[in-house]
């Protein structure tokens, strides 16, 4: 009973579209790097705005975690070259 769109339509999408997960990987890499960088900077120069539990240095491990996930997603969903 299921119906599908014409094959060429899906093919165009599947062969040429960049995966959404790649974009998510990019944003995690950029944000992870920025937050990790800010966290490491904060180890040496404490921020003016004092935060509760600042000694946990959440920016360092949260940024690192985002960066790791981001790299995994970018590599796994990197757009492949499609033969014409």
């Amino acid at each position: 009973m299921e119906q599908h769109e014409p094959v060429d339509h899906h093919e165009h999408w599947e062969r040429h579209a960049i995966s959404i997960w790649f974009f998510i990987g990019i944003v995690l890499v950029v944000y992870g790097a920025l937050i990790l960088g800010a966290g490491i900077y904060g180890l040496f120069v404490p921020p003016a705005h004092e935060i509760v539990l600042g000694k946990l240095h959440a920016g360092v491990w949260w940024g690192a975690l985002m960066l790791i996930f981001g790299v995994i997603y970018v590599v796994k969903f990197f757009p492949k070259k499609v033969k014409a």
Partner: protein, 560 residues
């Protein structure tokens, strides 16, 4: 505004994070334009979304910034009772949509909920539903826009006009370019950002509070006599809980009518699963959404509870204005400012902006589809597909402009907000009766569907007006003079659903039904549902629906 007048101040790195977000969502919109050539691409995202993308988008369209801010505030005000809106107020309905209703939405190839009503009942029901949905959607979008701009002013000190115009123009550009495809892509991105930005608050908060048990003990110490940490124990009577609600209202009003009405018939969310690539993906999408929905209280309710433990003393809005203190409406940004340093602060604010934009994109993409397919196409019957795509792009821009106009109207007349929010709720409960009877009862007729929908809507408006004119009527509508606004909404929804159902049944029995041959693909009993027997157990939607339902029961027992 002085720097000290707002809650947080952003540094350069935070601004860079926010700016990158805006650049990325616009970039995605421009990139996806090349894939949206036809009406099917623009309005239905080509019906090629995987279960995961459709499911996360389904949830993200609902996970707006006001949802995050509002329910954190509700958790501070009412305690863990607010979790009902995420569990019993969502999970059964999402699973019902997946297993029972999705086959008919998908097999009928309906492009929208009014589109399904057109196929099942005919023009009258479709027109009533489309006009009310289109009108209310853009008004709600405007109200959310204004509320978000107000939040940005309070939290960051940003100019209210700047927030309104920058965010709405961005949404208008990326939705007008890539249609539903662009909205869905960005919603999935926004979903990830919301979690990345908000998840740190409960983690660090629980470390500060010393874990869940110690947090509960501190709440009981700070608010002795009030039960703020149990889901069901305190709702045996209207007066035994801070919400003034009874379990019957939660189970039947919220758990059935409001929840089923919203999650199964509000086109804003249903549109996302209609874009799934096949029936299995369409059924799995709401189940995946339900799985994540169960976890949302961790980033929304837990911060509110943590604030009860570590930040007691927040007050209501009017008292905060009078005393210069902080309102519990600001609890989420206050917790963000408490734990987030440079960079993380920018990520948290980006999460709020992402939440706002995903909600708004959901509104305008649904509006554009309903306007173009369910209203315009029936006026201009000879319009080509290319012409309809052009109309859809303009409808997107028009929808955003009306939303902006509404935002400015609300800025001048704040009471409009209450009226429009009430108006929106008038249509949800009766529509549920109309759609449910349409899908599950082949005897329901065109006249029954239309008059049921109309009677339910008019009676809902009537009950609301009755309480406005005579506050004593609350004891009749909501079964108790102690009932609060939320409780009144639930019982009003329940009565209007029942009226719509009774009228649908009575009128249907009195009128001639459609022949069964015209109901194939639309109604249970006339439609062959494809078997899933060839899938392995763990690939079947019913298996995962069962898993989600068991977890839902266990969570309710744990937090009983």
């Amino acid at each position: 505004m002085q720097a000290s007048a707002h809650i947080v101040s952003l540094g350069t790195i935070d601004i860079v994070i926010i700016a990158f977000y805006f650049a990325l969502v616009l970039g995605i919109g421009f990139y996806l334009k090349r894939f949206t050539k036809t009406g099917n691409d623009f309005f239905m995202a080509g019906r090629k979304m995987t279960a995961w993308i459709a499911g996360l988008s389904f949830l993200a369209a609902n996970l707006g910034a006001l949802e995050l801010m509002g329910w954190s505030a509700a958790a501070y005000q009412y305690g863990i009772l607010a979790t009902h809106w995420y569990w019993i107020g969502a999970i059964p309905a999402m699973l019902f949509l997946a297993i029972i209703m999705m086959p008919f939405y998908h097999i009928s190839k309906a492009h929208s909920v009014p589109g399904y009503l057109q196929l099942r009942y005919g023009n009258s029901s479709r027109t009533l539903s489309a006009v009310s949905f289109g009108f209310m959607t853009v008004l709600m979008s405007g109200i959310n826009m204004y509320s978000m701009a107000l939040v940005m002013k309070v939290v960051l000190g940003w100019d209210i006009h700047f927030s309104i115009w920058v965010s709405s123009i961005t949404v208008a550009i990326y939705v007008a370019l890539g249609g539903l495809l662009s909205a869905i892509f960005n919603e999935v991105l926004q979903f990830v950002l919301i979690w990345a930005g908000a998840l740190l608050i409960p983690i660090v908060g629980l470390i500060e509070a010393g874990g869940w048990t110690k947090m509960v003990a501190r709440i009981q110490q700070n608010f002795a006599g009030a039960d703020l940490t149990h889901l069901w124990r305190s709702i045996g009577s209207f007066s035994g809980n801070p919400m003034g609600i009874h379990w019957t209202g939660i189970v039947f009003g919220l758990g059935f009518v409001i929840s089923f009405g919203y999650w199964t018939t509000d086109f804003l969310v249903v549109q996302r699963v209609l874009a799934a690539k096949d029936l299995r993906a369409a059924k799995m999408a709401p189940i995946i959404g339900a799985g994540f929905k169960m976890m949302v209280p961790f980033i929304v309710i837990v911060p509110g509870l943590l604030a009860l433990a570590v930040m007691p003393g927040l007050v209501g809005e009017s008292q905060a204005v009078a005393t210069g203190g902080h309102s519990y409406n600001e609890v989420l940004p206050l917790m963000l400012a408490r734990y987030a340093g440079p960079g993380l602060l920018g990520l948290g604010i980006t999460a709020l902006i992402a939440g706002f934009m995903s909600g708004m994109a959901g509104n305008v993409s649904a509006f554009a589809t309903v306007w173009t397919y369910d209203i315009y196409r029936h006026i201009h019957k000879t319009a080509t597909d290319k012409h309809l795509v052009r109309i859809g792009r303009w409808a997107t821009i028009l929808g955003v402009l009306i939303s902006i106009g509404t935002a400015y109207l609300v800025m001048q007349f704040a009471s409009i907000m209450d009226y429009v929010q009430a108006l929106f709720s008038f249509f949800i409960a009766p529509l549920l009766a109309t759609v449910l009877f349409g899908m599950l009862w082949k005897r329901a007729t065109s006249a029954g569907g239309f008059w049921g929908l109309l009677a339910g809507t008019v009676s809902s408006i009537g009950m609301w007006l009755w309480v406005k004119v005579n506050p004593n009527a609350l004891a009749i509508i909501a079964l108790s003079p102690n009932a609060k606004a939320m409780s009144e909404n639930m019982y009003r929804a329940l009565w209007s659903w029942m009226i719509a159902a009774i009228v649908t049944i009575v009128v249907s029995w009195a009128t001639k039904p459609k022949p069964e041959s015209e109901l194939v693909g639309l109604v249970r009993g006339c439609t062959e549902i494809p078997s899933e027997g060839h899938y392995k157990l763990y690939q079947r939607p019913i298996f995962w629906a069962g898993v989600v339902f068991v977890v839902f029961i266990v969570l309710n027992v744990i937090f009983w």
